[in-house]
């Protein structure tokens, strides 16, 4: 219903000329192609036969699973994928839990002595960064070098996400929470039974942000993990695809390998698929004012 109403042209807006219409369509078509073609090309190459991939072309067409078979025959990529999945799951669960509790703890700055000051301290961190070296020295002095925790702890909480969640909480009508308090409900059960069920959209968006951040992060792995055997998928991708270091130096490729390109593209696809799977679930919330409300606030 609403969609149909929004589709109608406002009475005051005149029909744009055919030239303008055509121009808009062309520009938008070009944008969509520029955004999507690289993904299609990568997926097509990863499923192509070695010959089709080297022959070039807009999209290689001869279908083959050779590249994926090759990857799953070795254990470097599979191990790296498992590491990344583990880091992402553990990190996201911890980050979301801590973000939600911290954000809720800072919602009643008037009643809770000191919480306004805490909020300012956290907001202030958005304006400065300690720099790469001090951060590195801290992680090292905490003994986290070569530990998987070095990929989780430094980014455990994001001040931005925290503010997004807090602003969402602030918009929940106070009456609902007050009456629960009158009934003698303690804060943990108010958070768990009332606030969280009302906050699914914002939790979904923030969980996606954290998950994507953990999955995509290669900076921390590059800084803190010297041990190749512990690398997550992004660091393997960096070495094998971006820097072009042969995968065989990290892993045993048996038999006759297809040209690296198809394998490279298959690794790229494997590193991208988890994001493509999660993306649609949170995507519908982006436009619901979850973020923009926070930015304005």
């Amino acid at each position: 219903m609403t969609a149909r109403r929004e589709q109608r042209r406002p009475v005051w807006m005149d029909e744009p000329s055919a030239v303008v219409q055509l121009l808009k369509i062309v520009v938008i078509a070009v944008i969509v192609v520029v955004m999507l073609y690289p993904f299609l090309y990568v997926v097509a190459s990863s499923f192509a036969t070695p010959e089709a991939a080297t022959a070039g072309g807009l999209l290689p067409t001869q279908f083959s699973l050779e590249a994926y078979r090759n990857i799953f025959a070795g254990d470097v990529v599979t191990h790296a994928l498992l590491v990344s999945v583990g880091i992402t799951v553990v990190g996201t669960v911890l980050s979301v839990a801590l973000t939600v509790t911290t954000a809720y703890g800072l919602t009643r700055t008037r009643d809770v002595p000191g919480s306004r000051f805490a909020l300012y301290l956290i907001l202030l961190t958005m304006l400065f960064g300690a720099g790469i070296i001090p951060q590195y020295l801290l992680v090292r002095s905490l003994g986290l070098i070569n530990s998987y925790w070095s990929l989780i702890l430094p980014g455990l909480l994001s001040a931005f996400n925290l503010i997004v969640v807090r602003n969402f909480f602030m918009n929940i009508p106070r009456d609902i929470l007050e009456s629960a308090r009158m009934d003698g409900a303690a804060e943990p059960s108010i958070l768990g039974r009332i606030v969280l069920p009302l906050s699914k959209p914002v939790v979904a968006v923030v969980a996606l942000f954290y998950a994507v951040g953990y999955w995509n992060n290669f900076f921390n792995a590059m800084l803190y993990l010297n041990d190749n055997a512990k690398w997550p998928i992004q660091q393997v991708l960096n070495h094998y695809v971006v820097q072009g270091v042969q995968l065989s130096t990290v892993q045993d490729v048996h038999q006759v390998a297809p040209p690296p390109q198809t394998i490279q593209m298959a690794v790229v696809v494997l590193a991208t698929v988890p994001i493509l799977v999660v993306y649609p679930f949170a995507q519908r919330y982006f436009t619901q004012g979850v973020l923009t409300g926070a930015i304005k606030g």
Binding site: Y41, A53, G56, P134, L223, V242, I275
Partner: protein, 320 residues
Amino acid sequence: MSVIERSRHQSAVQAEAPDRRPTLLSRIWRERWMYVFFLPGLMFFAVFAYLPLLGNVAAFQDYSPFLGFRGSPFVGWSNFVDLFSDREALAAIKNTLVISLLQIIFAFPAPIALALLLNSLLSHRIKRFVQSVVYLPHFIGWVIVISIWQNVLSETGGLNHLLQQVGLSTSHLMSNASIFKEVLTAQVMWKETGWGTIIFFAAISSIDTDLYEAAVTDGAGAWRRIWHVTSPGIAGVIALLLVLRIGDVLTVGFEQIVLQQNAVGNDAAQVIDTFVYYNGVLGGNWGLATAAGIFKGVVGTILVVLANKAAKRLGTAGAF
């Protein structure tokens, strides 16, 4: 619970504590759960945001990890003197500024233009579809983005195949030092333009449609409506983002650049952050690298404050 019930509750509570203002301790005890909730998060920021600030003392030391902050000798400002007489450091600062400038000129306005274009579309379905497409690359990490670009633009890549038929080639785009900064800007635009539109959509949707009707009554065409109604409506957001962007003028995507630095060489690709990484973490020149980091932080803070003042003088709200 009904209103009557609630007011009875309230009066019961008041009766228990007649007029006496609760002491600070009792207020804290009453809200103990709230402290349980926010103190761990506050601890996190204390350790991972505030504690490392102390590490900046290394910039004034001949820092050595074996001696630590206490054992390393203090050397005054000499790391900063070294920094500003280091040809490589000055080149890195210059590269950083050039890349930032390119991005402010080309990548900064792109989301505004795209938001205006999408906003002028009437079909909700097309708008939604284009939005889902252009938001997507924001969620793809730089390693994947660079991998994709390298392969699409490689010799056997699809684009090269197409361009060869008109006598052009894409095969050296990604490893060409002389156009590296432009390529970086194009990558940033490809990845972030779509996502950047979100905030402008919000600003545009908050403009009162009465203003458009009034403009039409006064005989304003589509472009005049954009100029006289839409652009004043989003000027505040643009100013805010520009202030923040100027504060980040010495920050240019570390991940994006470090990934491609081997392909184009240091002359084109060394920026402040990569200089810090190579000289500090890899080179062991901790004092010099920390000094470069401090320089970056101080300049950033000063620029944010100045840009904010300028934005306020021009009549917008600024960032703070």
